[in-house]
Symmetry: C2
Amino acid sequence: MIRIGVDIGGTNVGMGLVEDGEIVAKCSERFSRAGGVEGCCDRIRAQAGELLAGNGRTFDEVEWIGAAVPGSVNREKGIVIDAYNLDFHDAPLRERLAERFGRYDIDVLNDADAAANAELHSGAMKGMRTAAFITLGTGVGFSLIIDGRIFEGGMGNGTEGGHMILRSNGYRCSCGARGCAETLCSAPALMIKARRVIKAHPDSALWRNRRKLNAKALFEFAKNGDELALRILDEYTDALSDYVASLMNLLDPEAVCIGGGISAAGEILFEPLRRKAYGKCFFRNHGKVIQAHYLNDAGIIGAASGVAKGR
Amino acid sequence: MIRIGVDIGGTNVGMGLVEDGEIVAKCSERFSRAGGVEGCCDRIRAQAGELLAGNGRTFDEVEWIGAAVPGSVNREKGIVIDAYNLDFHDAPLRERLAERFGRYDIDVLNDADAAANAELHSGAMKGMRTAAFITLGTGVGFSLIIDGRIFEGGMGNGTEGGHMILRSNGYRCSCGARGCAETLCSAPALMIKARRVIKAHPDSALWRNRRKLNAKALFEFAKNGDELALRILDEYTDALSDYVASLMNLLDPEAVCIGGGISAAGEILFEPLRRKAYGKCFFRNHGKVIQAHYLNDAGIIGAASGVAKGR
């Protein structure tokens, strides 16, 4: 038996065939906003058919289909409430996918919850009862683990820790509020900060490399001791550690686990982050800040690995 | 049968005899920091004896003793981890009380958790499964309700939502960090803000009344339409709504329930707070901001009403 994990993103729809928690085949197609929910579901059905056929498998062998979405989801009802990057609002995604696949047992969940699922089942949070999971990428995803399961919110909206407000009257967030964690800790937020600093230093190596500069390159400069890159990173971890320490004080978790593209930076990020977050933490005997195990595939593996459908 | 609820505060030790969830008798004595944990426990034992005798009751009739403390508590172990206002650190309060009372089934819990307990059993949060509870007083207390019970943290420290960081490099908090919710939303924080504003307006009614001005008086001025008082309140609810909206986004609770002395202000506080918090909330179908039912007696009633000792 095989499982299909789908990770619907603002630019691509990733999909994988998962067996024993490992991806055995995967593919990625462009996501078209114009096609809406119907077009997206048509695409997913076709993509699944091709992926299975290409690997000599059939739909009869599929025991589980899970689809992860960047937005608020009512998992029980299989409805996407608001996914701004996809322009899905109150979209009955499970029902639409059910029509295509001829089965109703399709798991629709938030993408950070999916990634947390993967970490919980076979990654960095394995065996944990209470943990907060953050993904740092285009946005700031969040998932909360209580009693060893993903907590799905009290009103059926899920949890959106990326929209904790860390700065009154800060930058405007995509959600409409100001100063959310997402406006300070996402990859775009880091690069906005970087460009602002670099602009004032036209004699720097970062300035000379500014056209091809992205988050990954910035961390490379920092690793090589570039002082300006280290200064930008210092400001970034100031804000990120406010967010992490807030979660530690609020929930007293065993761990705050950090995934997403930015987390790939490794110790150049985690060393100052731990030092600052632990320094701001209320408790003496607090949990740890840890790096996620899975990176880009977490959404696919997590969507496919659904079992505990939360509370 | 009767229950004893004890509310140990930085200035007073309140105590009540509780029957069917109602206080039938209560008393209050000064708390002496100098006496330490031993002195405090001696005092509590003597106070309980007097209170019972004064009401014609005996220790044989006492079915429950609960003691609430302003600080982090490991409820399972009955240990006060850090209560800065009492100067209790790693204090085995249950054991010390057990020696005085000759029984070991004494509940030691955080004071905000105790107050939340009261609201959960017979107050504003009755019947709720997921809720956040805030007390606005000398400090900012916090309690988290998950699955209809008080969530006691993942590492046995409890939850300290009052130390969510809302302002990077804000005012220094008693916990050592900067910009915690407590530095913005407590009664002292409100009065610091008020004095700063009033100072610049020596022609105002608030200036003329500055010597006897406290939070309660300030809200009275606002209710009577005093523009300066309304401006101070407006700044205060800006910060408080950041905190409340953050909790709503993070936990998707059925309610954020607000108690403590400040909550007695009523609609002059709650109307702008709701408007701002709902405006900043990520979810369209979100929970409510509600006023706590109990005020000063919440700690005593809640400490006495322990049954569900949480997870």
